[in-house]
């Protein structure tokens, strides 16, 4: 399962001992940290413990996003039904773009397209579901463009639940997939 995924002009590189420290730097940036479910700063020890736990986990995959040899962010998927990713039907995807110039850009769709294709087509996952801060309008709009449906959460005004089926994903992303799958100029 832990292999480089390539497509839509980017590569998704599995997080490893060689690159995992970068994730802590990004995760602790104020602009990223404040959009997380847990907004606390991550210590070096916590980060090492986290990496030791996920390094061989069969229930989650973490990638670093590379575009034109530049590392620009991270995307991950976790099983939501307690099964290994190869067997699970429900999973949760998380993403952040750490490089500001690519945050409000078509490129921000590439990592989601590449990972979602893998999850729906290779791993046969039925549905992706996660929570987004209600105040994060950009993230909500981004996820809607991928085909996610939004549902309010009872007694929780801080977060909105978002869910995506393979059918909705396919319908919503035909055009953006075509634009990000053309020839490369440089």
């Amino acid at each position: 399962m832990r292999k480089v995924l390539t497509g839509y002009a980017i590569e998704l590189i599995p997080v490893s001992r060689e690159n995992f420290q970068l994730l802590r730097e990004w995760r602790n940036q104020d602009d990223i940290r404040t959009q997380m479910g847990d907004t606390a700063l991550i210590s070096a020890e916590q980060h090492q413990n986290w990496f030791d736990k996920i390094e061989r986990s069969q229930q989650q995959l973490h990638y670093i996003i590379q575009y034109k040899q530049q590392l620009i962010g991270s995307i991950n998927v976790r099983s939501s039904d307690g099964l290994d990713l190869t067997d699970c039907k429900l999973a949760e995807v998380g993403l952040y773009i750490a490089t500001p110039e690519y945050r409000n850009n078509m490129l921000a769709f590439a990592p989601s397209l590449l990972l979602n294709d893998y999850l729906f087509e290779q791993l046969q996952i039925i549905e992706l579901k996660s929570k987004v801060r209600s105040s994060n309008a950009a993230a909500l709009k981004y996820n809607q463009a991928l085909g996610y449906q939004l549902s309010p959460i009872a007694d929780d005004n801080e977060f909105i639940e978002i869910s995506l089926t393979a059918d909705n994903y396919k319908k919503a992303t035909q055009m953006v997939k075509r634009l990000l799958s053309r020839n490369r100029s440089n």
Binding site: Y8, A9, K68, E101, N104, N105, M106, L107, F109, K141, Y142, A145, M175, V176, L179, L180, S181, R182, N183, R184, S185, N186
Partner: protein, 77 residues
């Protein structure tokens, strides 16, 4: 780099983003203008390609983050 018809490019922006011609200048940038979002960007690519008879590469679609950048990119084709 070849000269491009800036008026034609501006018309493509006006049509795709549904904005006034007066709003089209070099500072006009993706996601800084409320109407230039990902959907509008896809329409914009189609408008520019139809207007200039070109097909943009993926890297240029990604790089086209402002009107100024669009002028540079279209001039390459």
């Amino acid at each position: 780099m070849t000269e491009i018809n800036t008026d034609k490019l501006a018309e493509a922006f006006v049509s795709a983003l549904a904005i006034d011609a007066a709003e089209v200048n070099d500072e006009l940038a993706y996601s800084q203008h409320p109407k230039w979002d990902s959907t509008a960007h896809m329409v914009l690519v189609a408008e520019i390609e139809a207007a200039f008879g070109i097909m943009l590469d993926t890297d240029d679609i990604i790089d086209m983050s402002s009107f100024a950048k669009a002028k540079e990119i279209v001039a390459k084709y």
